[in-house]
Each structure stands twice: as C-alpha cells, then as structure tokens.
C-alpha cells in the first residue's frame, strides 16, 4: 500500500552554498530499512525535479535510523545569490516528507 513518507519519518533540511541537505529520520528505528529501500537517491532526485538541478547523493546513518540526502545545485545559487523565497532550503524537509512510498502493511506493525 502507498503511504506518505511523513507517516513514518521526520526530517530537517538546510543549506551549504548552492547545496541543500535533508536528514530523513525514522520515528521508529525499526522502520529504517523501509527508508533505505524506498527513499533512494534516484527517487529523491525525481521527486524534486526541476527544483534540484544537480546530483543527489544518499548517505546512511543506521545508528540514528537516518538517511542524509545531499542535493547539489538545489537553491538557485544559494545563500545571498538565490532569488527564491526559500533560498536556504528550510522547507525542503517538508517537501520530501510529502513523497509517497510503498510498504507492506505488516511493516508498519510496532
């Protein structure tokens, strides 16, 4: 079944120059493997589409039940250059959590 990523994970995003990163964290560490399977760098790149012009790299933090996505050329130049309202990618965490993922119902059992 399809669920919104926001049902099993929270996130925080920020900037370094024109690069934005999103830390995605499973509320329950037992759901970390679902994040690893469903939220690939490729899917995140697709999800953000034209908002992110560069590469998306994924890093794993199993000890924290978290993934870190580093998205390049994601902020129209970033910092002082960007003309965007959200020049620092503060709202990208919420945008990622709107992604739909596929899970088996038993995977959500606690």
């Amino acid at each position: 079944m399809k669920i919104s990523l926001s049902q099993i994970a929270h996130a925080r995003s920020g900037d370094k120059g024109d690069t934005s990163n999103i830390g995605l964290i499973a509320y329950d560490p037992r759901h970390y493997h679902v994040l690893v399977r469903e939220v690939t760098a490729r899917r995140v790149k697709q999800h953000f589409g034209e908002l992110v012009q560069g590469a998306v790299t994924r890093y794993e933090l199993p000890n924290l039940g978290a993934l870190n996505f580093v998205m390049e050329k994601a902020l129209d130049g970033g910092g002082t250059i960007s003309l965007r309202t959200d020049a620092q990618g503060k709202t990208y965490a919420a945008a990622l959590l709107a992604m739909e993922i596929e899970v088996e119902p038993h995977e959500l059992d606690r």
Binding site: H10, A11, R12, G14, D15, K16, G17, D18, T19, N21, G23, I25, Y27, H47, F48, G49, E50, L51, Y59, E60, L61, P62, N63, L64, G65, A66, N68, V70, D76, G77, G79, T80, I81, L83, R84, T85, D86, K90, T91, A93, A94, A95, L97, A98
Partner: protein, 444 residues
C-alpha cells in the same frame, strides 16, 4: 563534568536567550555563534563605512549586562562575535565591562595575504565549481579561514573571561572548553570528535531543544520560553545534551537527531579543523527528563587543509511583489508577470536571472506544492539579478505601474518600490594548514 551552553545560533537570534541561560541555572561556559556565511558580508560592509565596526554589535552590551554573573560565578564566554574586526569588538567589551579580562584569537583573516598565497602556488579553487580564484580576485571583499578550537583553548588558559574570535568552526566554540578543562591533546581523535559532535548539536541554539523540529512540533511545550541547549561534558567523551529545568521546548532523541543531521554532508567524514568526526559511530540514549546522552564517538586525524570563506562582489538584485485577490487571483498574477517580462524584454535589459514565484501557490515547493482550486489571494513575487545595476534599478520601476495598467485589483505595494541590493557571494576554498598561524592576544 562541565556545562557548556549555547545562547545564540546566529546573529539575530533571540536576544534574551543568553541571559536566560546564565540566570536560569548552572552554566560554566557560554558560547555564542554570531556568524552565518551571510553575516560576514554584512560585517564587511559595516567595516567599510566605519573602521571601528565589523563585529556583532549586540555582543558588547550583552557582556556588560552579564558582567556581575561572569565575575561572581566565574562563567566564561566564547563567541565568534569578532566578525571581521575582533580587536574592535574586544575594545568595545572592555569599554562597557572594564572589570573583565578579554582575549582575542587572530590569524583567520587572510585578505591581505591572498596574493602571496596564490603566488606561492595555492590556487584557492572554488570547492563547488573548481574555478580558480583569479576569476574573482579584483572583487574580493573578505577572506577568512575557519580556525579550530586549540587557539581558543589557549585563550582560555590566559585567564580571560571573554574569548572573542573571528571565523572559527562553529562547533569549536564548545570544543575549546573541553580541551582546556580536560587536557585533551591534538591527536585525541575520538575525544575531539565527541566534543565536536556535541558542539554541532548545540551550535544552532534552540534547534536542539525543539525549535524548527518537525517531529511532533504541535505538542512542543512553551515555544515562547524555549530553553536553549547545554552540554554536560565529561572528560572521557560522554556528552549529555539537556536544557535548564522549567524552560520550554524539549530535548529528546528526535530533537537531537534532527540537529545532528542538520547541514552535514558525508556523516562518516564531518570535516572540522581539529578532527574528522564520524557521525555513524555514535550512540544516542534518551534518558528522559530532557536529557540525551551521546557516546561512542570516533574521529579520524584532522585534515591537512583548512577551509576558507571568501566573499566577493557578485552583482545586484531586487525582488518586488504585487498581490491579487480571488476570483482568478492566480491568472491575474500570471498575466501581470507576463506584462513585466514583456516590458523588460522590450527595454533590452540584460539579467542573469528573472525568477517568478506565485506566493501562496508554489513559492516554497514549486511543482510539489499541493494544488489549490481557487486561492483567496496570490502574491506575485518577481526577483531579478545581474551585473548591470542600471538594469536592476529599471526593474524596480516596472511593477507598481501595473496597479493602474494591468489586471484588475493589484494591491500589496505599500512598501513602495523594490530596493536594489548588492549581492555578495561566497567562494569556499582550501588553504594548507601550515600557512595559517593563529595567535592569541589579551586586550587591555
């Protein structure tokens, strides 16, 4: 065990936070982080106008306010409030709080040494684009290297109540007291990593204690009185993140984890001047009662190169807005955008970028924003940037005429014409460690 608190996550953070931290419970060291990348350019402009400026102006009066606590309880302050003019900052602190001993850490400023560094074979290539610095050499306005914690620890050893730095790694402000108190050595990689990771957790202030925290934000207690974070640091590298009892916000696994992953790249290699910390090595233990213990940190040897933040004049920009109401708010705004673009094209003005957002529809999330059938109002927000200041200035004259000559009901122009602003951009580069000699000066 020592308690290290952070009362300022950036310049412009809550003015009362450091005062509440000092007055609200036990604190041994108070750190204050004033320097976002954007801040350096603001300070640079201020120093250009007045050679006695270029530091965080909020800092000296704050220290004067805290002077009695600092003396009575032997609280010591570390702040990167020096900006691009640490000596002037220290003098102002001494003027307002003459009973305090103040030390500054210098050596981060390489603006006057850039040509020598380049001549010696350092290309200072842009870490993001790979371009050589010669491309922007004549437009550079500031150049500062991120220093590590050891010179700050040396400044503490001088007996100073107040340690003022320019550019240093944000987390170094918290690591320095641990080095000083616990006698950690420059190759105690795991210990240094534990201090840096704890420092990273508190460096953005209340972002560790429930601020900007997506997890359960609706139930976060008492945002208005949110407690700023503090570390209970132990000599063996165990760190507890907590806050004063009775304050708002909360510290739990979620708030600490969100801050751990904030603005990092490869979590196995969190590069700082003093150590490369491995965020995948740590264990979190939520002890309840707003306490999270971090243990097990591993570090690798510090890098041979230090990061420099170089600012340069990039060009000019302006952003203007108009508001349209329902019915057909979005269509009206789109029509107005087309009119502006057509007029700018007719004027044959050159812009590097014209960026349009329909605020209330797609400003933050673009195509990812949920679709709304009929927004009650839409703000048309057009931004331009480029090298030609005259073109940007002309743009600022092109929005308000639409109130009379465009789609019906344009509003929201009460702030007047958009302002032309200088764009100062950043050039991240690497310099060899051995070219940088930090030094400590006590300011009498």
């Amino acid at each position: 065990m020592i308690r290290i608190a952070n009362g300022q996550g950036f310049w412009g953070d809550w003015l009362d936070a450091p005062i509440r931290l000092v007055e609200g419970g036990p604190v041994d060291y108070l750190t204050l982080d004033y320097l976002a990348e954007v801040t350096m350019s603001i300070l640079q402009k201020q120093r250009k106008r007045d050679p006695n400026l270029g530091f965080a102006k909020d800092f000296p009066p704050l220290i004067a306010h805290l002077q009695d606590h600092i003396l009575k309880r032997n609280i010591r302050i570390l702040a990167n409030a020096g900006g691009v003019n640490p000596i002037a900052c220290a003098r102002e602190v001494r003027r307002l709080a003459p009973a305090l001993k103040v030390a500054v850490v210098l050596g981060d400023d390489i603006l006057d040494r850039l040509d020598d560094l380049v001549a010696a074979g350092n290309e200072l290539r842009n870490m993001d684009t790979g371009e050589p610095i010669t491309l922007v050499r004549d437009r550079i306005q500031s150049a500062n290297v991120y220093l590590g914690a050891f010179p700050l620890a040396e400044a503490l050893a001088s007996g100073a109540h107040i340690v003022i730095t320019g550019r240093c790694a944000d987390a170094a402000l918290a690591l320095a007291p641990m080095i000083y108190e616990f006698g950690w050595k420059p190759d105690d990689w795991d210990l240094l990593a534990s201090g840096i990771i704890a420092g990273h957790v508190i460096e953005c202030g209340a972002q560790a204690t429930g601020g900007n925290c997506l997890a359960g934000w609706q139930s976060t207690p008492d945002f208005a009185d949110i407690g700023y974070p503090l570390i209970e640091a132990h000599p063996g590298g165990d760190m507890v993140i907590t806050k004063h009892p009775g304050t708002g916000g909360r510290v739990n696994r979620a708030t600490v984890t969100e801050q751990l992953v904030y603005e990092i790249a490869d979590p196995k290699r969190y590069i700082t001047p003093d150590v490369i910390a491995d965020f995948t090595s740590i264990r979190l233990e939520d002890q309840g009662s707003d306490r999270v213990r971090i243990s097990g940190a591993k570090g690798q040897p510090r890098p041979d190169m230090l990061k420099a933040s170089i600012s340069y004049h990039y060009g000019w920009r302006a952003v203007g807005t108009l508001v349209y109401s329902a019915p057909d708010a979005l269509t009206k705004a789109r029509t107005a955008d087309q009119i502006v673009r057509e007029r700018l094209a007719n004027l044959q003005l050159s812009f590097e970028k014209i960026h349009t957002e329909f605020f209330g529809v797609n400003a933050c999330h673009g195509h990812l924003a949920p679709q709304i059938a009929e927004p009650a109002e839409v703000q048309l927000r057009i931004g331009v940037r480029g090298q030609d200041k005259a073109a940007i200035e002309r743009f600022t004259r092109e929005l308000i005429p639409l109130v009379l000559s465009g789609p019906p009901g344009a509003s929201g122009y009460g702030e007047g014409r958009p302002q032309v602003k200088e764009v100062i951009a950043y050039w991240p580069a690497l310099v060899p460690r051995e070219t940088i000699q930090p030094r400590v000066e006590v300011v009498e």
